[in-house]
C-alpha cells in the first residue's frame, strides 16, 4: 500500500512559529473565548438535565427559605407602615362636651411642642362616619340622640414617639378635665416593629448560613465534575492549555448554577406569594380591608441573583484551585 516515502518536492517551509495574533485582535479573541466558554458550559449542563436539575433545586431551596422569610417580613412591615398614618393617641371626651368646646381644647393642645397635629372628630362627624363605614345606618337611625363622643386625634411630633415619651403625654392628657379616657394606639405597633427587626436580623443570619451552604454545594458539584474530567484536563494541559483556560468552564458552571438556582428560588417565592394571596385577601376582607401581598421586589431579585451567582463563582473557584493541582501531570 505504501511504497517508499512519497516525499513531495515541497519547499522547506518555515514551520518555526505560528503567526501570533496581532495585538488589536486580542480583546476580541478573549471575549470570544469567554462567550464560547459560557455557552458551551451551559450546553454541557443542559445535556445532563437530571444532575443539573438536582443541584439547581438544592440551591433554589436553600435560597428560597431566606428569600421567602424576607418577603414575609417586608409584607408585615408594609402592613405596619400603613398604620403609621393613624393617630398615635386618641382622646375620647365626655359625651356632654360640645364639638365647640372640643375645638377649643384642640387649639390649646396645638401649642404643645410634643404634638405635631391635632384633629378634631366632632360627635356629629363621628356618627356620620360610623354610618357610612360600618353599615349600621338603619340601626343608628333608630337612635334619638348621638351616643358618640367627640374625639381628638393626636399625632406626636417627630422625636416624641418613644414609649416613655408617649407615657408622659398620656398622663398630661388624662389631667384634662373634659377627657373621658386616653388611648395610646401605637404601643403594640412599636413592640411589633421591634419583633420584626429581630426576625429580620434572624433572616439575615439564616441567609448567611444558607449562602454558605450554596457555596459548599457548588464547590462539591464542581469537584466531582473535575474528577470526572481529569483525563480531559490532563490532555488539555499537555497540548498547552493555560490554567485560566482550563479553569474557565468550571467557573462558568458555578455561575450558571448560581443563576439558575436564583431564578428557581425566585419562582418558588413567587408561587408561594401567589398561593397565599387568596387566604390573605379573605382574611383582609374580614377586616374590611385589602392587602395585596408584594413579592420579591426588582432590586431584591437583582440582589439575590447577583448574590447567588457570586456564591456559585466563589464556590467553584475554591474547588477548581484546590483540585486542578491534583490532576496536573506530575
Amino acid at each position: 500500500m505504501v511504497a517508499r516515502a512519497p516525499v513531495r518536492p515541497r519547499q522547506r517551509v518555515r514551520v518555526r512559529r505560528r503567526a501570533a495574533p496581532r495585538l488589536v485582535e486580542l480583546p476580541g479573541i478573549w471575549l470570544n473565548h469567554h462567550v464560547q466558554s459560557a455557552v458551551a458550559t451551559l450546553g454541557r449542563l443542559m445535556r445532563a438535565p437530571w444532575a443539573t436539575g438536582m443541584t439547581v433545586a438544592v440551591i433554589a431551596v436553600a435560597l428560597a427559605l431566606p428569600a421567602g422569610l424576607f418577603v414575609l417580613t417586608e409584607n408585615l412591615r408594609h402592613l405596619v407602615g400603613d398604620w403609621d398614618q393613624a393617630a398615635a393617641v386618641s382622646v375620647f371626651l365626655h359625651a356632654e362636651v360640645s364639638d365647640e368646646a372640643a375645638r377649643g381644647i384642640a387649639a390649646e393642645l396645638r401649642t404643645w411642642p410634643e404634638l405635631q397635629r391635632v384633629e378634631v372628630i366632632g360627635a356629629e362627624d363621628a356618627l356620620q362616619e360610623f354610618r357610612e363605614q360600618a353599615g349600621f345606618g338603619e340601626a343608628l337611625a333608630q337612635l334619638t340622640e348621638n351616643p358618640l363622643p367627640a374625639v381628638l386625634a393626636l399625632f406626636p411630633s417627630p422625636g416624641y414617639g418613644t414609649l416613655e415619651q408617649m407615657k408622659g403625654i398620656e398622663e398630661r392628657l388624662a389631667d384634662i378635665p373634659e377627657a373621658d379616657f386616653v388611648r395610646v394606639d401605637t404601643r403594640w405597633l412599636m413592640r411589633f416593629q421591634g419583633i420584626l427587626d429581630l426576625i429580620q436580623a434572624a433572616v439575615l443570619l439564616l441567609g448567611g448560613l444558607l449562602g454558605l451552604g450554596v457555596l459548599l454545594i457548588v464547590g462539591n458539584t464542581i469537584r466531582l465534575e473535575i474528577q470526572n474530567r481529569s483525563g480531559e484536563i490532563e490532555i488539555m494541559e499537555l497540548v498547552g492549555a493555560t490554567a485560566a483556560f482550563i479553569r474557565r468552564p468550571f467557573l462558568y458552571a458555578g455561575v450558571w448554577y448560581g443563576l439558575l438556582g436564583g431564578v428557581a428560588a425566585w419562582l418558588l417565592v413567587t408561587i408561594a406569594v401567589f398561593a397565599l394571596q387568596g387566604p390573605v385577601s379573605r382574611l383582609a376582607s374580614l377586616y374590611r380591608s385589602e392587602f395585596p401581598l408584594s413579592g420579591l421586589g426588582f432590586l431584591a431579585l437583582l440582589g439575590m441573583l447577583g448574590g447567588s451567582m457570586l456564591l456559585g463563582l466563589v464556590g467553584s473557584w475554591v474547588a477548581v484551585n484546590r483540585h486542578l493541582r491534583e490532576v496536573e501531570p506530575e
Binding site: A5, R10, T242, A243
Partner: protein, 222 residues
C-alpha cells in the same frame, strides 16, 4: 535547538532515572532514542516537554532555560512542542476532528482557521474522511495517526514521540515512520523514543542509546 547539560533526574521512590546526560541537537534534526524499558527514554522526553523539571543540570529548548521557566509560561512552551504517546491519549468522547482541534482551541484560533488546519493535518495522516468518527471506531494504527495529527496541527517546530509504534505491527510502524520522515523533510525537529531497532538501522538517523539513565552512545556526536 535542544541542549542538555549534565542533567540528572531523581525520583524519590526509584532513584536516578537520568544521570549526567549531556547532548546538543540542532534545528531540523531527527533523532532516535533507544534503550531498554526504564532506561530513561520517557523521562528525557518528559523533561523536554516540561512535564517534569530536572533535579540538576540545564535543559535548554529553543533558547529557553526550562529550569527557570515560570509555571505560568509552561503552557506556551508546550504549544511549541508536539507530543505523541504510545497510548495515543485521545479523548474517547470527542470526534476525531475535535481531538485534533484541541491544541488550536486552547490557543484561541478562530473557527474557520481551526477547521482549515485540522483538515490539513488529517489529510497529512490520511484520515480526512474519518473526522466525524469517535476514536473507538478506529484501529490502533489509525488512532496513532490521529495522535500525530493532533501533535502537528499547531505546526510546532519540535515533535516528541514516546514509543509511537509500540503497539503496532511492522507494516503500520513503517507507515508511521514514513510520516515522521515527511515532517523531518519540512524542517521539523523530531525525537522518537523506540526500541524498534530494525527500523532505526534502515533509516540511518542519529541515534541516542540510554542505559540505566546514562547516555552511552550517540551515533551523531562529533
Amino acid at each position: 535547538m535542544i541542549r542538555f547539560e549534565h542533567v540528572f533526574k531523581r525520583y524519590p521512590e526509584r532513584g536516578d532515572a537520568l544521570s549526567d546526560v549531556t547532548f546538543q541537537l540542532d534545528e531540523g534534526e531527527m533523532v532516535f532514542l533507544t534503550g531498554h524499558s526504564g532506561a530513561g527514554k520517557s523521562t528525557l522526553l518528559r523533561l523536554i516537554g516540561l512535564l517534569e523539571r530536572p533535579s540538576r543540570g540545564q535543559v535548554i529548548v529553543n533558547g529557553r532555560n526550562l529550569a527557570s521557566l515560570p509555571r505560568r509560561k509552561i503552557p506556551f512552551h508546550r504549544r511549541e512542542v508536539g507530543m505523541i504517546f504510545q497510548d495515543h491519549r485521545l479523548l474517547a468522547d470527542r470526534s476525531i476532528f475535535d481531538n485534533v482541534a484541541l491544541p488550536l482551541v486552547v490557543s484561541g484560533l478562530s473557527h474557520k482557521e481551526i477547521g482549515r488546519r485540522v483538515r490539513a493535518a488529517l489529510d497529512q495522516v490520511g484520515l480526512l474522511k474519518r473526522e466525524r468518527a469517535l476514536p473507538v471506531a478506529l484501529s490502533g494504527g489509525e488512532q496513532q495517526r490521529v495522535g500525530i495529527a493532533r501533535a502537528v496541527v499547531a505546526r510546532p517546530p519540535l515533535l516528541l514521540a514516546d514509543e509511537p509504534t509500540g503497539n503496532l505491527d511492522p507494516d503500520l510502524s513503517r507507515e508511521i515512520f514514513q510520516l515522521f520522515e515527511r515532517f523531518h523533510h519540512v524542517g521539523v525537529t523530531l525525537i522518537i523514543a523506540t526500541h524498534d531497532i530494525g527500523l532505526i538501522r534502515v533509516t540511518r538517523h542519529r541515534t541516542f542509546t540510554l542505559s540505566e539513565g546514562r547516555l552511552i552512545d550517540d551515533t551523531g556526536a562529533a
